[in-house]
C-alpha cells in the first residue's frame, strides 16, 4: 500500500514543519502563505506552539526568541510581509540563532493576490541569509527538515521561499519521518550574541561574511542542485533554471527535443562549482528564472572570476521576462529565441491574460472580477460614507476585502497594509481642503494601522478614520485576530476592544455603529465629518462568511414586484444577489441573498422586505 497523500503545497509545507520537529510557529496571514498556519492550528494533536501574531515583525521576533532559547522555530508570511519584518531580519543575520529557525516567505509572481511581485531572493542576498527555492511540492516538504539542520549547523536563520504555484499547487506526496527529539528550551545568556551593541555588531558582521563560503560549499553538495552535462553532443548549449522555473524549463526542453547541458538551482548562495563546470561545457548559457536576475547576475560574476568567455543571457537580451510568472510556453520561446535559427517567436499570452480576455470569436465576454459577497457589511458602510461625504471628498483606503469596494468610489488609495490613515494625514497636512475619510479593516488596524492613528491624533490631522470591524481577517481566509476573543487554535482569550484602543491612542471622537443600520451609520458619519480633529467611526458587523460558519443565518429578502418601479436604486448598490430583469423591468433578489437588509433600507418605494414564512 502506498503511503502517498494528495496535498496542497502549504499543507505539505506544514507537514515538513512537523517532520522537522518545530516547537514554535508564528506568522501573519497573507496569500499565498496562510494555509501553513491554518493547517497547523487546526491539527487535533499538537506538540508545538502555534500563533497568529499581529504582524510580521512581531511574528519574526517571536520565532527568533524561541530559536534563541534553543528550540526549532518557524515564521510564515507573504513576500510583502518581509518588508515589515525586514528590521529584525537584517540584524538576526548578525546574531544568528541556536535552535534552527526557518523563515517562510511565499512569493506571488504575477500578483495573483498581491499589490506587488517583489522577489524574496533579493532579501536573502541582502541579509546574507541562505535561501531554499523549491521546484516541486515534494521538494518543498523535504526542504524544511533540511533547512532546520542547515540553520543549526551554521547558527543562522534560513529563508524558505515557495511561490504561488508551490503553495497553492497540489501533488501526490510521500510523507517522511518525524523528528522525535525535542530539546528543552533554555535561554543562554550570550550577551555578545544577543545584545547588538556596536562593539558586538562589529564582530558579528565579519563573522557573517566569514561563514558564507562554508554555507556555499554545504549547499553546493545538497540534492537541491542538479547538474547534467551533455558530453556527447556537438551542441555547446547550457540552460540554468531555478526553483519552479526549472520544471517549466525541463518540460520545454522535452517538447523541443534538444540536447543541452542543464543545471537546476535550488539554493542561494548558488552552487558556484556546478556553475563553473557548466561554463566549461557551454558557449552560451541561458538562465531561466522568475522575476529578478538573481542567478543570472551571480553566473555573470562567476564568469568574470574564471575569465570564461561563455555568453550569459536571460533577462539580458530580453529572452526571459523580468515580471510575471513563467510557464512552459515562455520557456520554449526563450529557448528557441536563444538557440533557434529562425525568426524570434512572439511570446504567447499567459494564463493571467486569459482571465482578462474579453472576446472569443464574435462573442464579447463580460469580465468577472472578484467582488464583495452578498450582504458584506463593507458595502453598506461605503454606501453610507459616500452619501455623507459625497464626491467632493478624498477616500484613502487600505488592504483587505474592502479594497474590492473600489467601484463604490470610496477606495482611492491602496499602498500597503496600514497606509490608509497615514496617507490621509499626509494629504491633510499637504493642505488638501476637501474632507478626508479613510477606511481600514480590523486586522489591518491591529497590524500597522494603530501607529498611524496615534500619529494622526498627536499631530492633529483633521480626518475621519473608518474602522471596518468585521471581527476577522477575511481576505486571507478568515483567520482570528485580537478583536475576536480567541487564539489561532481556538482557545478563548481577551477580546481587545477597538474602541478602548482608539481612546487609548488619544482619539476623543470615537463612535461605534451597526454597519447594517444605514440611517445610524449616516448620522455618525455626519457628526464625524463636522468634528474638528481626528474622528474615528467603528462600523461593526460580522463578515457574512464567518457568521455563516458560526451558524448565524438571517432570513433572505424579496422584492414586491407590485411596488417595484424599476428605478434601479438597489441594483446600483452593487450586491451580487440583486439582478435586474430587463424584460419585466423589475429588480429581483436571487438565492445568493444573505439577509443583511440594507437594500430594503435603500428602496424608496418600500418594495423590499424580509421573506415571511
Amino acid at each position: 500500500m502506498s503511503t502517498r497523500e494528495y496535498m496542497l503545497g502549504n499543507v505539505a509545507i506544514a507537514r515538513g514543519i512537523v517532520e522537522g520537529g518545530a516547537q514554535v510557529i508564528s506568522g501573519y496571514p497573507g496569500t499565498p502563505s496562510s494555509e501553513i498556519i491554518d493547517t497547523l492550528s487546526r491539527m487535533d494533536e499538537r506538540n508545538f506552539y502555534v500563533e497568529w501574531s499581529v504582524n510580521e515583525k512581531v511574528a519574526m521576533e517571536v520565532a527568533a526568541g524561541a530559536a534563541w532559547s534553543g528550540v526549532r522555530s518557524v515564521v510564515t508570511m507573504k513576500h510583502v510581509g518581509l518588508n515589515v519584518a525586514a528590521d529584525p531580519l537584517m540584524t538576526l543575520a548578525y546574531t544568528g540563532v541556536k535552535g534552527g529557525m526557518v523563515i517562510i516567505v511565499a512569493d506571488d509572481p504575477s500578483c495573483h493576490s498581491s499589490q506587488n511581485e517583489q522577489d524574496t531572493r533579493k532579501y536573502a542576498d541582502f541579509s546574507l541569509v541562505p535561501c531554499l527555492d523549491p521546484s516541486t511540492i515534494q521538494e518543498a516538504k523535504d526542504m524544511i527538515p533540511y533547512a532546520f539542520e542547515l540553520s543549526e549547523k551554521f547558527e543562522i536563520p534560513v529563508i524558505f521561499r515557495p511561490t504561488t504555484r508551490i503553495s497553492h499547487g497540489k501533488s501526490d506526496i510521500e510523507p517522511g519521518e518525524i523528528v522525535e527529539d525535542r530539546p528543552r528550551a533554555h535561554f543562554e545568556k550570550l550577551i555578545d550574541r544577543w545584545v547588538m551593541l556596536p562593539k558586538n555588531a562589529r564582530v558579528r558582521h565579519p563573522h557573517l561574511l566569514g561563514i558564507q563560503e562554508n554555507i556555499t560549499k554545504e549547499l553546493e553538495n545538497s540534492s537541491w542542485n542538479e547538474l547534467s552535462i551533455n558530453n556527447d553532443s556537438e551542441s555547446k548549449i547550457g540552460i540554468i533554471a531555478s526553483g519552479i522555473a526549472s520544471v517549466y524549463a525541463k518540460e520545454a526542453i522535452l517538447n523541443l527535443g534538444i540536447d543541452i547541458s542543464f543545471l537546476k538551482v535550488g539554493t542561494y548562495p548558488v552552487p558556484e562549482g556546478l556553475i563553473m563546470n557548466m561554463l566549461e561545457h557551454a558557449d552560451t548559457v541561458l538562465v531561466i528564472e522568475e522575476l529578478e536576475p538573481v542567478v543570472e547576475d551571480r553566473v555573470r560574476i562567476i564568469t568574470n572570476k574564471t575569465s570564461s568567455c561563455t555568453r550569459i543571457i536571460g533577462k539580458t537580451g530580453d529572452f526571459v521576462p523580468r515580471f510575471g510568472e513563467l510557464n512552459v510556453e515562455l520557456c520554449e520561446a526563450a529557448i528557441t529565441n536563444a538557440f533557434g535559427t529562425g525568426e524570434k517567436t512572439k511570446l504567447t499570452e499567459s494564463t493571467v491574460d486569459m482571465e482578462e480576455m474579453a472576446d472569443v470569436a464574435s462573442i464579447k465576454l463580460p469580465l468577472r472580477p472578484p467582488a464583495m459577497c452578498p450582504g458584506c457589511s463593507h458595502r453598506a458602510v461605503y454606501y453610507a460614507m459616500k452619501n455623507v461625504f459625497g464626491n467632493d471628498a478624498v477616500y484613502p483606503s487600505d488592504i483587505g476585502c474592502y479594497t474590492l469596494g473600489v467601484q463604490s468610489g470610496t477606495v482611492e488609495t491602496t499602498l500597503c497594509m496600514g497606509s490608509s490613515i497615514t496617507l490621509a494625514s499626509g494629504i491633510y497636512h499637504a493642505g488638501e481642503s476637501r474632507p478626508i475619510c479613510c477606511s481600514i479593516g480590523d486586522s489591518t488596524f491591529f497590524h500597522t494601522g494603530m501607529n498611524g492613528l496615534m500619529n494622526a491624533v498627536y499631530n492633529k490631522a483633521n480626518i475621519t478614520v473608518t474602522i471596518l470591524d468585521n471581527r476577522v481577517t477575511a481576505m486571507t481566509g478568515h483567520q482570528p485576530n485580537p478583536g475576536m476573543g480567541k487564539t489561532a487554535t481556538g482557545e478563548p482569550t481577551v477580546d481587545i476592544s477597538i474602541e478602548n484602543l482608539c481612546r487609548g491612542l488619544g482619539a476623543e471622537f470615537v463612535e461605534v455603529v451597526d454597519a447594517y443600520d444605514r440611517k445610524a451609520t449616516e448620522e455618525v458619519f455626519k457628526r464625524a465629518k463636522e468634528y474638528n480633529g481626528t474622528s474615528v467611526v467603528i462600523a461593526e458587523q460580522a463578515c457574512v462568511i464567518d457568521a455563516r460558519r458560526a451558524g448565524i443565518r438571517l432570513k433572505p429578502y424579496v422584492i414586491d414586484v407590485d411596488k417595484c418601479t424599476g428605478c434601479k436604486q438597489c441594483v446600483k448598490f452593487g450586491c451580487p444577489a440583486i439582478e435586474f430583469d430587463s424584460e419585466s423591468k423589475h429588480a429581483n433578489i436571487t438565492a445568493l441573498c444573505t439577509g443583511c437588509g440594507v437594500c430594503g433600507q435603500i428602496c424608496k418605494f418600500d418594495a423590499i422586505s424580509e421573506v415571511k414564512k
Binding site: P32, G169, K170, P366
Partner: protein, 197 residues
Amino acid sequence: MSADKTKLDLIISGVGGQGAILASDIIGKAAVLAGVPIRAAETHGMAQRGGSVVNHIRLGCELGSMIPLHGADVLLALEPVEALRYIDSLSDDGVVIVNTQPVLPVTVTSGGDEYPDVSEIVDVLKSNHKVKVVAFNAFELAIKAGHPQAMNVVMVGAASNYLPMSKDLLIDCIKGMVPPKTVDINVNAFELGRAKV
C-alpha cells in the same frame, strides 16, 4: 489525446464559490489512490470572491502543474462564459464539457456589461469543430439529485468518462469527502453527470 492511458491534462474553470476545488480534489485523491502521479494548480485567495477561477490538473505528470496553452485534453467548465474564456487552453482534439447554467458577474448585475446568449456560446464552442462539446444543465441535474450545490459533482461525473481511474474509485473518494449527510445526493449527482457523456 495522449497515447499513454494514465496521462491526461484537465482544466476546470468556473466561478469562485462553485466548488471547483472540491471537484479537483475528488479527481486528485482518486488519482493518488490509483497510483497515478499528479500535479495541480488552483486559484485560491482574492479571486475566490466570485471571480473567474481556473484549476489545472495534470494526471501522469511529474513536472510543473501548469498546462501549456492548447495543451488540455479536457476542459470542464462549471459555467458557460468560463468555458469560452479558457477555450484556448484546450488542444485541437480536446473535449469541452460545459454546464449551461449561467452565473451572472457583477459587471452584468450592476454594471453595463451584457451576458451573452448561452446557446450562442455553445454554438461558438461547436463551430470550433475540432473539439467535442458536451453541453447540459448540470445545475438542474444537481437539483434533481437533491441539492443545487452538488453541481460540481455532476460535472465530475461527466468528466469521469475520460479519466484514467475507475468509476468505483471516484465514488469512494466522493463518499469520503462530502459531508456525511449528503453522500447519497452526491453519488446520485455523479451518476446523473456520468450518464450525460
